[in-house]
Structure formats: structure tokens, C-alpha cells
Symmetry: C2
Subunit: 225 residues, 2 copies
């Protein structure tokens, strides 16, 4: 018998929590959270489904861990410089992370057992706001406003029934088709004169709204001082 257990071409690497997490995130990134079943994940890793349960307690625990990986990718806001610059950078880091990992939208704030990267992130942002001169209450206002906007933007963008200006014509067509022509004149004008224009990308709206918010917060911070 050729029991060459050393030179086996595929050494059949041991499973680990890290490998499970990595595969789960890759799978969710490309196929969505619905497609992430314990069975499909096991197939990717070429193990039996139940093997996963030696490394994650259950699917909930798996998702908790996946979310914490996303938080760790976001990092924490840099310390020095203008508060607006560093908070702005954080907002864009979140948007980018959520655009890499769309499945995480709607999960980021819902973990009842937040991981260390999650807590570290919140701690750092609050610290940055406090250092910028926001008192505790104003920091709460600012944090709520910023995160509502950031996650809300990701949510509405994710849920947009179209992606690029090319599709949007057809989508709008099928959306409005079952209804009488001219039933929604403002909506039609809006779609035709803005959304369907070449070069339109809803994602561009993000920074505009973000700056309105940052300027508004800066103003109330000044008056409070």
C-alpha cells in the first residue's frame, strides 16, 4: 500500500475557526447572506456540515464573528488633526467596508455579544469626539446622527432596485408599468432628468450628505463652546 501520508498532494488542511470565517465571508460577499448555509459553507471547505460545529457554536455565533471581522477592517479613527477630517475618514471607511461586505449592513449594530473590534471601534470614536470638544451629551447627538446616516445610506444603497444608469431605465419602466401613465409626474421627472442621466451613480450622494452633517455638527459645537 502506498501510504505516503507525507507527500499527499492535498494535505487536507485542518479546519480552524479562521478558515471557517474566511470562507464564510468570501461566500457571503459573492453570493449574499441567504446563500450562506452551513451546508454550502461545508462544501466549500470540503468537510461534512457538522464539522463546522467544532469551530463555531452555531450560525449565530458564526455571524457574530463575521461582523467583528468587518469592524476590524474598518479600524479606528486616527488621533491627530482636525476632528472633521478623521471622523470623515471613518465614515468613508465604514461605507467602503460595507460595500465590500454588503451582507453586514443591518447586522453591524445588532450584535448582542459585540466582539473586541466592535467595542474598540466605538470606544475610539467616542474618544475622538470628546477630544474634539464635544461634551458627553453632544457626543451622543453627533454619534447618533453620524451612524444613522452612514448605516442608513448603506441600507438604502443596498436596497436600491438598480445598480447602474443602464439598468435604471428598464427597472423604472417595469416599476411604473402597472399604473396609469402620468400617475406619478414628479417621480417620472426625477427619474428621467436625474437618475437616468449618463454617469449617474447613487453612491456619489454619500459624501454630499456627510459634509452637510459634519458642517452642521461643527456649527453646534462652536455655539456650545
Amino acid at each position: 500500500m502506498a501510504t505516503d501520508r507525507v507527500a499527499s498532494p492535498e494535505p487536507r488542511r485542518r479546519l480552524s475557526r479562521e478558515r471557517v470565517l474566511e470562507a464564510a465571508i468570501a461566500h457571503a460577499d459573492t453570493s449574499g447572506l441567504d446563500a450562506l448555509t452551513m451546508r454550502s459553507l461545508a462544501e466549500m471547505l470540503e468537510v461534512a456540515p457538522m464539522a463546522l460545529y467544532r469551530h463555531v457554536a452555531n450560525k449565530e455565533d458564526l455571524i457574530d464573528a463575521m461582523v467583528d471581522v468587518v469592524f476590524s477592517e474598518i479600524g479606528v479613527p486616527s488621533g491627530g488633526g482636525d476632528w472633521k477630517t478623521s471622523i470623515r475618514r471613518r465614515a468613508i471607511a465604514i461605507r467602503d467596508a460595507l460595500s465590500r461586505h454588503p451582507w453586514a449592513v443591518g447586522l453591524m449594530e445588532s450584535r448582542r455579544t459585540p466582539g473586541p473590534a466592535n467595542l474598540r471601534h466605538h470606544d475610539a470614536v467616542i474618544g475622538r469626539l470628546r477630544a474634539a470638544g464635544f461634551d458627553v451629551e453632544m457626543a451622543a447627538h453627533a454619534y447618533s446622527l453620524l451612524d444613522s446616516y452612514i448605516y442608513g445610506f448603506a441600507l438604502t444603497k443596498l436596497n436600491l432596485p438598480f445598480e447602474f444608469a443602464e439598468d435604471v431605465g428598464e427597472v423604472a419602466q417595469t416599476m411604473l408599468e402597472p399604473f396609469p401613465a402620468n400617475a406619478y409626474p414628479n417621480l417620472v421627472e426625477f427619474l428621467r432628468e436625474h437618475v437616468m442621466q449618463p454617469g449617474y451613480d447613487y453612491g456619489d450622494e454619500f459624501e454630499y450628505g456627510l459634509d452637510v452633517i459634519l458642517d452642521g455638527l461643527d456649527r453646534v459645537r462652536d455655539t456650545a463652546t
Copy 2:
């Protein structure tokens, strides 16, 4: 045989799309969207599960219709008066509707086949902004900013791991327990000096942020004119 089919105590009302919708929304309101299964819904209505499929095409169609009911509850912004007042009222109407129907958060913007109430709502809001002097592009900015905030606030509020100031102590305790003491000093200060104060209600943050946004939009509208 006493075949009094008239005076039967429970006339066994016929099913209808309206009855199915009403029951589905009531069930989702009290028990969440996860608990809304075709089987549990059928049980509420005292019919066999498959009876539902005479009135809704499938679960997706059911949820589409439920979302449109929520849109119809929100209504459309009033025509007259200050634009800020009517847009502010709309924002609060959405928040209230989503607080009655938390399951709808995350679904409102994702319907690929929006119902009539949905389209009517969007049409009216765009119309109100245009009438207030926003050009098409500025209306797009404003709409994106407002809705991102409104839905984002609902999302983060929904996902908050605590509800009232009483719970928050325990929740914070269990959240921070597995980590070294003083690992997250800013977070701890924030929880202790703000969130755990008597009378704290995260919901109160909504109007503060909303007004920052409305003032910001008013300012850019003025400069554009």
C-alpha cells in the same frame, strides 16, 4: 338535523387578501418577522397553510403587500406652509410607522415591485421639495440625506441591544464582562454618564439630528437660490 346554517355561532368567515394582510401585520408587529411563517399565519386564521396561497402568490408577495400598507399609513406630506415643517412631519410619520411596525425597517426601500402607496409617497415628497425651490439635483441630495438618516435611525434603534435605561446596566455589564476592566474607558464613561442616566431614551435623539439636517439643507438651498 339542526342544520341551522344561519345562526352558527362562528360563521367561519371567508378568507380574503385583506384578512390575510391584517393578520400578517398584527403577527409581525407582536412577534417579529422571523415568527411570521406561513404555518403560524394559517393557524391564526384557523385555516390550513395552503389556503393562504389562494390570496397571496407566495411569501415574497405577502411581504410586498405588507410594506405597501405601511407606506399607506405614512401618507404624503401636506402641501401648504413651510417646507421644513411638512418634511419634518413626514420624517416623524415614518419614524412612528416604523416603530409600530419594526419588521418593516430594512424592507421599505427594497421592494422591486413597489406598491401604489409607495410610489405615491415618493412622488409627493419629490414634488414637495421641488415646490420649495430645490432643483432636481438638490432635491436628490436632500432626499438621499433625509431618507438615509430616517431609515438609518430606525435601523440602529431597532438593533439597539437595550430598550430602556433599566436594562442598560445589565446589558452593558454582560457586554463588557469578557474583557479586561478599563479596556474601553471612553465607552464606559459614555455608558455611565449618559446612557444609564435616568430618563434616557435613545428615541429622543431622532429629532435633534433631524433638525441639524433640515437646517443644513435650508442653508444650502438659500445659497443656491
